[in-house]
């Protein structure tokens, strides 16, 4: 027994010494519910698996650009209806089966099938037909030209899966990426191992472990005690200054695709009056919300569009912080004494903390809010599907989702025929210059209609061991791409 203990101790210390060059432990706040990125909305699934285990025809780069993935190159027909993808050859799935055009046909048809449970089924709605021309060529025919088809194919919901391994994908995912799935200790961690047969550059890390720590104080302790090497999306911004001051760590502060908005129920009285919506927008001091709720991390926005996008225009000037003018607008709309409404807050801290500040700011112009804190499932039921809310705070994390304003049944119930027509035109336009113009027009329309109170672009703050490099700073999609991560000595 003594010898056993001794050898265990030696193995343990040996691990502690050498593990640090080939292995990384990354903390995440949320655990994936299962491991199929193509049948759930949970961002945690993509965080663990996107690009690491699963790859799509195209893939997002760290800056949000759309690059070649499993498709080496592609041709678009002149009418914009046919995309011919040339696939990489010599790619094999982690179970040893080879990747080819039939896997692409299977994946895309599965995603758009009638009984599909793909959370982003709309991405595939424009596809008319998918056809395997030969082993490494796939032809996708669209119903109408679609300007962002290649962008759509880079989403985690569009990764390529194989028919042979689909039955068990939720517990043992088989992809083509630089890491293969190792083990899932439910409630604790998921480990990945380097794929030695990867078609591209092999990963520098031999293995990686994602550890799930939901409690902010526990995240702090785990980082400080050296139990984990990085925490992606660190949940307690109040500790970041302490990490920044500590030479053992680096803090990465980047952008996400999350437009954080004070959503307004546009069909509900008195918010059906644009003057009231404008008054609400002008009563809000964005910077004080960013400082108070997010400890300074976040970029003010004036419309539903990400500031790091090349087509972004700064429209924050449409609703400057001016309580006096806001009060006058309310009086003009017939509410000189203000009114009372509901403010429903989902769990994230941007909503709970931001909600208190916004309630105080609205009170200054006479709007009383009844705050209720909801769980996500309740929020979906009451606010999202039941339209039973006056105001709510949500960060819309999907990339390039301004199109939701063209859906009159969407929970803020904005119904503007001009905007809907514009988005329709945009969806079939593939000329970059024209697209850019249209996107700017779209931003302007919703900003000038004061559809929602536009607060800030959600920041992504990660704490990383100072000796690690290669983590993405920004989050163009919810991924923790480890393919370029390595230790420096």
């Amino acid at each position: 027994m003594k010898r056993l203990l001794l050898s265990t101790a030696i193995v343990l210390t040996a691990n502690a010494v050498c593990a640090k060059t080939t292995d990384v432990i990354v903390g995440l706040q949320l655990e994936p519910p299962h491991l199929d990125p193509t049948s759930a909305a949970a961002g945690a699934i993509d965080q663990v698996l996107y690009s690491n285990v699963f790859e799509g025809l195209t893939r997002f780069g760290p800056d949000g650009s759309v690059n070649a993935g499993l498709a080496e190159s592609w041709n678009i027909s002149d009418d914009g209806l046919t995309y011919t993808f040339k696939l990489r050859s010599g790619v094999i799935f982690h179970d040893g089966s080879s990747f080819g055009s039939e896997d692409v046909v299977f994946s895309l048809n599965r995603a758009r099938a009638e009984d599909s449970t793909n959370a982003q089924k709309a991405l595939f709605a424009g596809i008319d037909n998918v056809e395997a021309v030969d082993a490494t060529t796939v032809k996708v025919t669209l119903k109408a030209p679609q300007g962002n088809f290649l962008f759509n194919m880079a989403w985690g919901d569009a990764v390529i899966v194989a028919e042979e391994s689909i039955a068990d994908i939720k517990s043992s995912p088989i992809g083509t990426g630089a890491f293969r799935f190792g083990e899932w200790k439910q409630g604790d961690s998921i480990s990945l191992e380097r794929n030695m047969d990867y078609w591209g550059n092999a990963a520098a890390l031999e293995s990686a472990t994602f550890k799930f720590i939901s409690e902010p104080t526990a995240a702090f302790a785990a980082m400080m005690a050296g139990d984990i090497d990085a925490f992606y999306g660190y949940p307690a911004p109040e500790n970041l200054a302490q990490f920044e001051a500590d030479p053992r760590f680096q803090v990465l502060a980047g952008n996400t695709e999350g437009e954080t908005i004070l959503a307004i129920n546009n069909k509900m009285e008195p918010f059906d009056d644009v003057r009231v919506r404008k008054a609400v927008s002008m009563a809000i001091d964005r910077q004080s919300i960013i400082d108070g709720a997010m400890f300074g991390y976040g970029t003010p926005i004036g419309s539903h569009f990400a500031p790091h996008h090349p087509d972004y225009i700064d429209l924050t000037g449409n609703a400057p912080f001016d309580p006096g003018a806001a009060k006058a607008l309310l009086a003009e709309a017939g509410y000189p004494e203000g009114f009372t409404t509901t403010l429903k807050l989902p769990p994230p801290s941007y909503a709970r903390r931001g909600g208190e500040i916004i309630a105080a700011q609205l009170r200054d112009i006479g709007i009383e809010t009844e705050i209720s804190n909801l769980e996500w499932a309740q929020w979906l039921e009451q606010a999202f599907r039941g339209y039973d809310y006056g105001l709510t705070i949500v960060s819309h994390t999907e990339p390039m989702d301004i199109g939701i304003y063209a859906r009159p049944e969407y929970y803020f119930q904005y119904d503007n025929a001009d905007f809907q027509a514009l988005i329709k035109e945009l969806s079939i336009e593939s000329d970059p210059a024209k697209r850019s113009q249209m996107l700017q027009k779209a931003q302007t329309i919703i900003s000038e209609d004061y559809v929602n109170g536009y607060l800030f672009q959600l920041a992504l703050t990660s704490v990383v061991n100072a000796k690690l490099s290669g983590f993405w700073k920004d989050a163009p999609t919810q991924a923790v791409d480890l393919t370029a991560v390595s230790w420096s000595q």
Binding site: L5, T8, L12, E31, P33, H34, S39, A40, A41, A42, E114, D115, S116, T117, N118, A119, Q120, K121, A122, K170, S171, K185, Q186, G187, D188, S189, K211, F212, I213, S214, E215, T217, A218, A221, A222, M224, A225, D227, E375, W376, A377, Q378, L380, E381, Q382, F384, R385, H396, E398, D401, I404, Y411
Partner: protein
């Protein structure tokens, strides 16, 4: 004894049945649809419906209750909506953490509470007693998660003796498991030990004022002999009751401590399942816990009979 056992068993089955109805009803009326939760804000209605169909959520309440109960009777706890694996497997995984943690904490509780309670009762009114009463008051008042965080800062961050949390799994060996569970067990044990020590003390004091104790003393036994031979054993009944309740509590009530130490225990599973609307997991786990509590109470009843011969004879 046999008719008594049959009667108890009958009431046990009835209470389990009633519990199953209450649990099912409560959880089914909780707002929030598991399918729309999983598919998020961009999902189309037909996709949500396809998932509801796949999960069997489009059937009636009665149908679902019947299939759940008939599964339970066969030992099948159902399949988790989110994890898509059998609930029994998931629960078994979590019990590997929760049972040892509860036992560890309970052992510490007893090891602390017994001597402290006896000491305080034996020296009633002395400085020792006053100190014990003050310290246990503090132990009950201080929130255990705060104490847990304090221990993490001292022992994990500053001293580096323990890791800040997590569970290495049984593959890592018994030592690693003990090391991982020590801080959480201490954090869980302190308030429980404070409660138990106070119960122990007051129960002993009650017993010590009984006539038979005076008789024993008059017979010529020393204080110590009276304490060990007569008082302690008779004071055990309320103490055992509390220990039974504490074990049930420690098994499932450690959610906050599990979160502070990010341990994959049963409490965190239920908590996660509730937020994700994984109703089948919540229902089955709660049912299992009800069963465990009923079972523990039954064992406590048996223990009463062991310490008190009168109960044995009466039945």
């Amino acid at each position: 004894m046999l008719p008594y056992l049959i009667k108890r068993l009958g009431s046990l089955i009835v209470s389990l049945f009633v519990a199953s109805l209450v649990i099912f009803a409560c959880i089914e009326i909780v707002p929030g649809d598991p399918a729309s939760f999983m598919l998020g804000v961009n999902a189309q209605p037909d996709t949500v419906n396809a998932l509801r169909e796949e999960l069997g959520l489009n059937t009636s309440h009665t149908q679902r209750y019947v299939s759940w109960i008939s599964g339970l009777l066969k030992g099948d706890l159902g399949t988790s909506y989110t994890y898509r694996s059998p609930v029994s497997d998931i629960v078994a995984d979590r019990l590997q953490v929760s049972v040892p943690l509860a036992l560890y904490a309970l052992t510490l509780t007893i090891l602390i509470a017994f001597p402290v309670g006896v000491l305080a009762a034996a020296w009633r009114g002395s400085a020792v007693d006053l100190f014990v009463m003050g310290a246990t008051q503090l132990g009950i008042a201080v929130p255990n998660f705060w104490f847990a965080i304090l221990m993490v800062i001292v022992f994990a961050i500053n001293l580096g003796w323990f890791s800040a949390g997590g569970f290495p799994g049984w593959d890592a060996g018994i030592l690693a498991v003990i090391k991982a569970l020590t801080l959480p067990a201490v954090a869980l044990a302190l308030p429980q030990a404070s409660i138990l020590a106070r119960v122990m003390r007051s129960s002993l004091l009650d017993t010590l004022s009984e006539d038979y104790i005076r008789s024993a003393r008059a017979k010529g036994l020393s204080r110590r002999q009276v304490m060990w031979r007569h008082a302690l054993r008779n004071a055990m009944i309320p103490v055992l009751t509390i220990i039974g309740l504490q074990f049930s509590f420690l098994l499932a009530g450690a959610i906050i401590i599990e979160n502070v130490f990010f341990l994959p225990g049963l409490g965190r599973l239920v908590f996660q399942a509730i937020t994700q609307r994984d109703l089948i997991v919540v229902e089955s786990v709660v049912m299992l816990l009800v069963f465990a509590v009923v079972l523990v109470n039954f064992l406590v009843d048996l223990a009463y009979a062991w310490v008190d011969p009168r109960l044995r004879e009466r039945s």
